[in-house]
Structure formats: C-alpha cells, structure tokens
Amino acid sequence: MAGMKQKYRTDLSLSLAVSQKDRNCSTQSYLCRGDSHVFPSSPVLKARINEMDWQGQKHAEMLMQIFLVFSAVAAFGAGYLMRDFRLMMLIYAGGVVLTVLVTVPNWPYFNRHPLKWLDPSEAEKHPKPQVSNITSSSSSKKKASKNK
C-alpha cells in the first residue's frame, strides 16, 4: 500500500490528466478524487487546476445573472437619462467584462464546499464489484465484505 501511495504522489501528470478527463466524475474510484496533496498554493493557479464544487457553480450562475441584468438596467437607465447611446453601450460592456472576471474563472471562493471522495486506503478495502455474470451468491458475498 505504501508503494501505491508513493506511485500516486509522484505521478503528477497522470493524476492531472485523469482529473481533466473525468471532470464530472461521479464514481467513487480513487482516481477521481481531487488531488488535495498536489496543488500549488497561489489562488490564480488554484483557479486553473481546481474546478468549482456544486454549490459554487450554482452561486456562480446566480451571480452571473444578477450582474448582467443589473448592468443592462443600469446601462439603459443611464443612457436614457443622459440621452447618450454610446454611454449605454460603454456601461454595458464594462458590466459584461466585470461579470466575466467574477464568474468565469474558478476562484477558490467557489470551491468552499468540495465533495470529499473516498480515501485510497478505504477504497482498497472495498473493491469495486465485478460487472459481468453477477450471481446472487457472489453479490451477497461482496455485500458482506463491504459492511465489514
């Protein structure tokens, strides 16, 4: 087991490649977990490597809608009152840029409730059931070992 941990720790490129592929990973395979021990500390790089968690995504979507609607209303109001079409367009463009900066990169703020995946040592104790030819006796045997 120590040997496997060592292999996982040093094989950075493999783990990153896997996490890129399984973005929406929902299985409990140990390969799917966030690599909590291999990311750098700066928030900008964190934003590139980590994805948002589910609550963060919902929050980001809500923020996007609110920012854009507010920008549109503010832009139209200002343009109508000042009788200046160009002003309306400039305010709205500024609002869109602000929204992109706040919502699109995955800031750590959007990753405050990350899902906790199974530790590899735990996953080892409960191997994944075989898919083919499951008979009732073998499935009950596996269930017993799972509840150990």
Partner: protein, 167 residues
C-alpha cells in the same frame, strides 16, 4: 457551469440576450416622442421644359428647400434621410412620384436647414402629360435609428403648376 468554457459561453449568451433586450427597449422609447416639424419648398425658377427625343416630357427646376426637422432626432437616431418628390396624376398612372432631391441629415445640429439648388434628379414623365400640370411637392423623411424600427413620414405641399407651353 462546471467548466471554464461552459461558464464563458453562458456569460456571453446571456449577455447578448440582455443586449438585444436593451436595444429593443431603446427602439421602443422612440415611439414616445411626438415630433413637430415644418417644411417649405419654393420653386424659384423653371429653367427649361422640353420634350425629349423619346417622347417624354422633362422639366428642370430651381428649388429652395427649407425645413426644421430637429424634433425628429432622439438618442437612438443615427441619421435622417430626406427627399423631395413631385406627385401628380396622369391618365396612364393614378399616382406618379418623381424624386427631385435628397439628402442625409447626420445630426440634430444640421436638422434646421435651407438649400437652394436645381433638381438633383431629372424630372421626367412617362409620356407627355406635364403641360399645365398641377402637382404636389412632398418632403419625405426616413428616421434611421441606431437600433430598431425605422419610422417614415412626410409633409405634403400643394399648389404647384407647370407652364402650359414648352420653354
């Protein structure tokens, strides 16, 4: 919203939708203006009035067009296209409209104008019906918006008459 590309796409799409809504509202705000315009066209001189080789009548006029179209300009107006048309009736056609002059007014400052000119476009009839003809001169304008619907309107001025004989 689970990846960078997905979120960027969502922001841009929703942003464009909001932009379309803003432009629609800007166009709608145009309908609430009630413009008051005035115009006058004087025919200063009939330069010549001849029958062409192909049998059609042709007139050359010197016009003085003066108008005040400044109330047509809103915050959503790009330019106003103006033209003067001669309108008359012949046995062949119930309505003939011949454009004599046009111009583009780019801004409110240029909207109160006065121009002294010969007709920019030739006043040619379909046939030979212009001798002693009564006609109207109509000033048409098209308000071209920055976004949205284009409105068009006109002022009709009556009481003009061409001479009985060729000159």
């Amino acid at each position: 919203m689970h990846s960078f590309g997905y979120r960027a796409n969502a922001v841009l799409t929703f942003g464009v939708t909001m932009l379309a809504l803003m432009c629609f509202l800007a166009s709608l705000s145009d309908t609430f203006t009630v413009p008051t315009t005035s115009a006058e066209v004087k025919i200063l001189n009939i330069n010549w009035f001849q029958k062409q080789a192909n049998g059609n009548d042709e007139v050359s006029l010197t016009l003085n067009v003066s108008a005040d179209l400044s109330t047509l300009f809103t915050w959503n107006t790009k330019q106003v296209f103006v033209f003067v048309a001669a309108e008359y009736e012949t046995p062949q056609n119930a309505l003939n409209q011949v454009s004599l002059w046009d111009g583009i007014i780019p801004s409110k400052e240029h909207a109160k104008f006065w121009i002294h000119t010969t007709n920019k476009y030739r006043f040619v009839d379909q046939g030979s019906n212009l001798k002693g003809k009564d006609f109207n001169l109509t000033l048409h304008w098209h308000i071209m918006p920055k976004t949205g619907k284009m409105f068009a309107d006109k002022i009709v001025m009556t009481g003009y008459r061409l001479p009985e004989e060729y000159r």
